[in-house]
Amino acid sequence: MSQNNEDEKFTAADQMVVAGSHQIRPDDVIYVGLGLPFLSALLAKYTHAPDSTIIIENGIVRTTGFEMPRATDTPGAQFMSDQLTGLFYISSLGQSGHINTGFIGAGQIDRYGNVNDTCVGDYSKPVHRWSGSGGANDVTSFCQRSIAMLRQTKRRFPEKVDFITCPGYLDGIEGQREKAGMPPGTGPAMVITDLACYTFENGEMVVKSVHISVGATLEKVKEEIGWDIKVAADLQDTTPPTDEEIRILREEVDPKRIWVGGKRKPLGED
């Protein structure tokens, strides 16, 4: 399977970005985090969703394209925005239901779409620590559709996460999110990995499409998942990137190749 081979026409990471872009509808208001989600949001803006609104938690609301940022807040991301404000205002837009789609990265994700960005093992004596929520908990709590993007390994797809940083459908029982105090009609809509796309049926993650274009197979998908995952009745091949999408991604979205494969250049190489 192609990973980040520069000679390949496109990589698994490109397939992830394009699959993310296809999830953005023309008039969506999108909350984005750093890395792959930014690439997807900008690709959609430069292709089928020029009127989408891109929202960055530091306080940026914009409907025009911008230089691919190296961090969530950059002068280029601020410049010529429609509105500059603060995190309270942005999150309040989300909490009151005005940001319909949110993209996050994730450390681990489980059967019911719960995301762990905090720790593996006991919280007080963790085996592994991640950075914590940042704005991800807010995105997944508030958005009608939240979309997680992460590379897939068995370790990152346990049946049940050790720590819920961003609630998905909790135990998969209907109404649990609302009972906890989250807005109704919200929750995970899709998970995009380097192997496949997943949706949710009755609160449970199911395989929706496999990235055949980069050599993934259903068998491989099932190998890299920590439970016996269900497969959607209408399982498909993931729509591959078009030549035009790859061109726009390379030439317009990230011409400086800052986020190749969703990973930033190593420190000291700027």
Partner: protein, 298 residues
């Protein structure tokens, strides 16, 4: 009253051992010069409230922080400061929220109320380990809702583009948690690129984020947010800073030469210009763009 003073004086008078310290600047225009001065003065046992403030790693690395209220803990290659604090037995206790949670605890502080309801954090495991997040029943509908306890920092520091001598401070660009954080703080000091005439402020008063009567000190400090960017003033070098203070072999010379080895921020900038390749600071010049002026009058 003219409140303009030096950074040394402002820090020694208004930041005390044991304080809850709010630091403004969520990846935009943080008061880096003031943070370096706090390290130089070794003011310790601090509780930090901030969101994505890059140079706050120095406070942790130098063992000055007991507790951090945060949504995001740097644990990657940027985190030698954390490793150093851990080795010295000075790893802070982290009290974890979502980013909105930090904004909300400060907003409740700004409003003068004991807690604030929220629909974030509920359903996550954060409330299990953070006693300042819980759930309550809505008194009107009986439905469950999250609740976050208010915080009023003892002292808040904000860096701005312009401020008058009284402390009427104006910042623009992304605001992160600046407005609620600085307004929730009991004592406030402002560091500013430039001290301007009060009439400059009064010709565009909607831009004032904190009024002078709330402010105790004003420090004029050009490039006071470097290595971060500041809207309309300069771009930044955040990733360069992470590299300069990330690995141990870079962190230790940085604090020795550029924190303890200089008397103030101007000397820090001069010394950094000598260490960095020629033209380092010139690269941060921006091409300014102006909108139509704000018009007032009667």
């Amino acid at each position: 009253m003219n409140k303009v003073m030096t950074m040394q004086e402002a820090v020694s008078r208004f930041v005390k051992t044991g304080d809850i310290l709010f630091i403004s600047g969520m990846q935009h225009g943080e008061p880096a010069a003031a943070i370096h001065e706090i390290v130089r003065q070794k003011i310790d046992h601090l509780t930090l409230v901030s969101v994505l403030v890059a140079t706050a790693n120095l406070l942790i690395g130098e063992g000055l922080v007991d507790r951090v209220l945060t949504g995001y803990i740097s644990q990657d290659e940027r985190s030698y400061a954390v490793a150093k604090a851990r080795a010295a037995g000075r790893l802070p206790v982290y009290e974890e929220y979502s980013h909105f949670g930090i904004s909300l605890l400060l907003t409740a502080g700004q409003m003068g109320i004991p807690f604030i309801p929220t629909r974030s954090e509920v359903g996550s495991d954060m409330p299990k380990y953070n006693k300042n997040i819980t759930s309550v029943k809505c008194p009107f509908t009986g439905e469950p809702v999250g609740a976050i306890r208010a915080v009023n920092p003892d002292v808040g520091i904000i860096h701005v583009q312009r401020c008058d001598a009284e402390g009427n401070a104006q910042k623009w660009g992304t605001m992160g948690v600046d407005v609620e954080g600085i307004n929730a703080s009991k004592k406030i000091f402002v560091t500013t690129e430039k001290v301007v005439d009060a009439d400059v402020i009064r010709r565009d008063p909607n831009r004032t984020v904190i009024p002078g009567f709330r402010v105790s000190a004003v420090v004029e400090q050009p490039f006071g947010a470097h290595p971060m960017h500041l809207a309309g003033c300069y771009s930044g070098d955040m990733w360069g800073y992470y590299f300069d203070t990330g690995p141990k072999e870079n962190y230790e010379p940085y604090v020795k030469d550029l924190v303890y080895g200089v008397k103030d921020w101007d000397e820090h900038l001069e010394k950094k210009a000598e260490i960095k390749p020629p033209g380092y600071f010139e690269n941060f010049k921006i091409k300014p763009v102006e909108s139509e002026p704000i018009v007032s009058g009667y």
